[in-house]
């Protein structure tokens, strides 16, 4: 079924032989040797993909039956792990097979960049804008990559872990203390 590094790694992790993959996932593993199936438990099928392969993988996933776009977000693993700092997380859903799929893409750098999947799933548009706004991850190929939650002149990206809570002075400090 598999012909890549995913198979031995999965056997090391799983203490007992895992049940056979559902057909859409097996098809994905076969079609995409570059993607690593991290774990596949009930309802949580997680693939890790290189950033450069994200669009093709999303396309393959849609072809395999994951027709609905659900979610796109990012996690900042600042000083939590060696290697790339951010994970872009894409959640897809297959209604016909009743399966969920989660794609993790590691990105790094001062201006981290990932390809935009708006060409495959138009619904990713606002989600990518949100991640760009709050994490500063650049989605190349996005039709309209602007801030969405914060004003245009905002400096910094608040959901990054090196932005502390309360670092922006707020305007209504001068309230009176009741004596």
């Amino acid at each position: 079924m598999t012909d890549d590094a995913a198979a031995p790694e999965e056997e090391v992790v799983a203490p007992e032989p895992s049940p056979p993959l559902p057909p859409p996932l097996a098809a994905l593993v076969e079609a995409f040797p570059a993607a690593t199936l991290e774990h596949s438990a009930a309802g949580q099928n997680v693939f890790r993909v290189e950033a450069s392969h994200l669009v093709e993988f999303a396309q393959a996933a849609r072809d395999a039956g994951f027709e609905m776009f659900i979610d796109l977000t990012a996690v900042d693993y600042y000083r939590q792990r060696p290697g790339p700092r951010y994970d872009v997380v894409v959640v897809l859903l297959s209604l016909q097979h009743n399966l969920r799929l989660r794609i993790l893409v590691a990105v790094d750098g001062d201006v981290p960049a990932a390809p935009s999947i708006t060409g495959v799933y138009p619904g990713a548009n606002f989600y990518e804008r949100e991640v760009y706004d709050l994490f500063g991850i650049d989605f190349t190929g996005h039709p309209d990559l602007t801030r969405i939650m914060l004003p245009d002149d905002w400096e910094g990206h608040p959901l990054r872990k090196d932005t502390p809570v309360g670092s922006v002075p707020i305007q209504f400090r001068g309230t009176h203390k009741v004596e």
Binding site: M68, F69, I70, D71, T73, L93, L95, P122, G123, P143
Partner: protein
């Protein structure tokens, strides 16, 4: 001038820091021009606010963007091509202070006469960084934060967060806790839908509908207050169970709710379902196809109104909801009227579930027996030093959750509500992301509204039932 706007788009990020003083004076100058009313619109647009987030003229926007805003990106169902020249269209700003946008939603509408051609939603006016706040609260405090996101469905937010946390902890709950959760979330679905039917009616001119919907909702809120102490933002469903057992006499309250609200629903049907004005305003208005729902991640009643049989309570059941008997109402045409019918029937089905839960409520504990998660009973604290220490530690330090990540989805009143929780083995989540159904629905507004009359836009906004606290978080 056009150069100005295009460079502003691409380099907002880099230049904002250095040129802040210059742009400040520039902005003041532009505001003066705006006040004097002597300059052309492009200057004014730059001066008034959002800059790059505003809707661009057609020749400056990318073709994908224009297709997205025109609602033709997924399914090109445009009736006829735009015939009016650029000068003959009007950009109308709707909101954020507009009574029919259900909060602080701002829409920019490109109008050709009375027909909406392009729509661009601008959101973020209610953004308070709740995901960031979630990272500073322990897992036990988490529900206080998430319950404020979708303020019409607080129990669903709490349930979703609790389920995600419990999945990471790997704990099971006693049957009574599960049943209480189902009862409260299903009643919450009814109260949320009642608010929706009230506002949908009011937006279409049936103001009496507003009063009726809120009147029936009051019954539910009174029950919530009796159970949790609060009418909203309950913090009742917590990781490890629920905060307290149901109050004395809850069976009578639920019986009263289950009996009274269907009578109200009959009244609404009399008032709206065959009302020619209501039919004229809703039938064939704001159509979204199943294909468009998939592309934009639209779930819940709008998806079911488009004829797709998908309800997470049936397909990926949670909290033991699969033990109760209910049906999933489906629409056919995906228009405002079908969404209305689907939600009206969902209320009946939710009340059916509530009645079944009340009948079959199991005895037992309402919290998990896992001592790491559940604080010791009040009585034990007086007797045992260990219990006191334990209680203190749970509420100050919190319990540690094993490292891992989990995406938990439940069927909220507006569609799939998902919480993605990442833990690194600490007492606080490393990252909390909330996939909210309203956010996806707002994004699909251009698809719903393009090529419709401006008068229908309020009916369409009401029909997707957005909660802006849920959108902006």
């Amino acid at each position: 001038m056009s150069e100005d706007t295009s460079t502003q788009d691409t380099t907002t990020e880099e230049t904002s820091g250095e040129t802040a003083p210059a742009s400040e004076s520039e902005r003041r100058r532009l505001q003066e021009i705006w006040a004097a009313g002597t300059e052309e619109p492009a200057w004014v647009t730059a001066a008034t606010a959002e800059g790059a987030q505003l809707m661009l003229p057609r020749d400056q926007a990318s073709p994908v963007e224009v297709a997205e805003e025109g609602g033709t990106l997924v399914n090109d169902d445009r009736l006829y091509e735009l015939e009016a020249a650029e000068e003959e269209t009007t950009i109308l700003n709707m909101g954020p202070q507009h009574p029919s946008t259900h909060g602080v939603l701002r829409l920019q509408l490109e109008l050709e006469g009375e027909i909406v051609r392009r729509v661009k939603p601008v959101i973020g006016y209610l953004h308070t960084g709740m995901e960031k706040t979630g990272e500073t609260l322990t897992f036990l405090q988490g529900p206080t934060n998430v319950t404020r996101m979708d303020y019409l469905a607080p129990f669903h937010n709490e349930l979703c967060f609790s389920l995600a946390t419990e999945a990471l902890l790997g704990i099971d709950l006693p049957p009574r806790a599960l049943a209480i959760r189902v009862l409260m979330t299903e009643l919450n679905r009814v109260s949320s839908h009642l608010t929706w039917v009230a506002t949908q009616g009011m937006d279409l001119g049936a103001v009496s509908m507003m009063i009726y919907g809120i009147r029936e909702r009051e019954l539910l809120l009174a029950f919530f207050e009796k159970t949790t102490g609060l009418r909203m933002n309950h913090n009742y469903i917590r990781p490890g169970g629920v905060a307290a057992d149901l109050p004395d006499g809850w069976q009578e309250d639920v019986a009263e709710i289950v009996e009274a609200i269907p009578k109200g629903l009959d009244d609404y049907h009399d008032l709206l379902t065959h009302n020619p004005i209501f039919l004229g305003r809703t039938e064939g208005v704001g159509v979204i196809t199943a294909q468009e729902c998939f592309a934009y991640g639209i779930t819940g009643p709008p998806l079911r109104a488009a004829g797709v049989d998908w309800d997470l309570r049936k397909t990926q059941p949670y909290s033991g909801i699969e033990h109760y008997d209910f049906e999933v109402p489906l629409g056919q045409h995906g228009d405002v009227y079908n969404r209305y019918l689907v939600r009206m029937e969902e209320m009946r089905q939710s009340l059916r579930i509530a009645a079944q839960v009340a009948e079959s409520m199991p005895d037992g504990d309402y919290r998990s027996e896992d001592l790491k998660v559940t604080p010791p009973p009040r009585k034990r604290i007086d007797e045992s030093m260990e219990a006191l220490i334990h209680h203190f530690k749970i509420f100050t330090e919190g319990f540690k959750v094993p490292a891992g990540e989990h995406y938990q989805a439940i069927e909220g009143p507006r569609g799939e509500l998902g919480h993605y929780v990442v833990s690194v083995g600490d007492a606080k989540p490393w990252r909390l992301h909330c996939r909210t159904p309203s956010f996806a629905a707002i994004q699909a507004l251009p698809t719903l509204m393009a090529d419709q009359l401006i008068a229908d836009s309020v009916a369409i906004i009401a029909s997707i039932d957005p909660v802006l606290g849920d959108v902006d978080r």
